[in-house]
Symmetry: none
Subunit: 133 residues, 2 copies
DNA sequence: CTAGTTGCAAAGAGTTTGCATGGCG
DNA sequence: CGCCATGCAAACTCTTTGCAACTAG
């Protein structure tokens, strides 16, 4: 059940750390890693990505006019207690703390019988800067 | 260049008008129409959907935790907002309407200067059924 | 040694395209 | 009748899965 510390895992984590301000499709990640001479198989890539998303280390987005998922570093443990606002225009990922949003979890549980995993929520929209432009 | 008024076109438009309060995947639309005895081919469905999206009659979006596009009638103020509750256990994507969550949009705008694209939010967690098991 | 991990290739799912037939105007 | 639309099936793209070889602990 424990996780092995493989070379491929290291490579992917390093990639996201080096590029935390951008998001990438699976194909782009594969390509970028290949450029660095750090190839890794598609299957492994998708499996690791899914895991990173589950762990909350990476976030997945899908643009409305696209058909592919994009992945972006979302911080590790330091991102456990706040929410993420993703700007669909400039791609920026904002981190905010908010009591109001904290209450949302209890509301959804109470009124919809659904146990929310609050860390995974990504609120998409347009940031202040882009909205003004 | 002009558009013909075909039976299939009528059928799709009527479908969206009759269901403006909800969104559907292409597969769901196909199925619903088949139930009504108004079948239409996949190719035609996708071609018409794309056109409706281009015309602004229908809106397409993809939940971050899904891989399929959803389509919804985009005209009229009477359209309510929808939220996605994604169960991480069984994979089900629940669609709910909720005033409380509507307020969240205004809160985030007011306190964080961020224009929320409310339909894109995917709330991850565990559904009632899976929570009991 | 054991259990988790990798990578290839094949399978799947959703969507798009080619082309002959059919329908609107 | 001309042009656009339809529908079937094949092609495509992105992603997942099966399985045997491999590797960290």
């Amino acid at each position: 059940m424990s996780e092995y510390n493989t070379k491929q895992r290291e490579v992917l984590l390093r990639f996201f750390n080096d590029n935390m301000h951008h998001h990438f499709t699976a194909a782009e990640i594969e390509l970028e890693l290949a450029k660095r001479g750090e190839k890794l198989g598609k299957a492994t890539l998708y499996r690791r990505l899914e895991r990173l998303v589950d762990e909350g280390v990476v976030r997945r987005f899908v643009a409305d006019d696209a058909r592919v998922s994009c992945y972006q570093y979302a911080g590790g443990d330091e991102c456990k207690n706040h929410y993420h606002l993703k700007c669909l225009k400039c791609g920026e990922l904002l981190h905010v703390e908010c009591d109001y949003l904290d209450e949302m979890g209890s509301h959804v549980l109470e009124h919809h019988g659904f146990v929310v995993d609050i860390q995974k929520i990504t609120i998409c929209g347009v940031c202040e800067r882009c909205a003004k432009a």
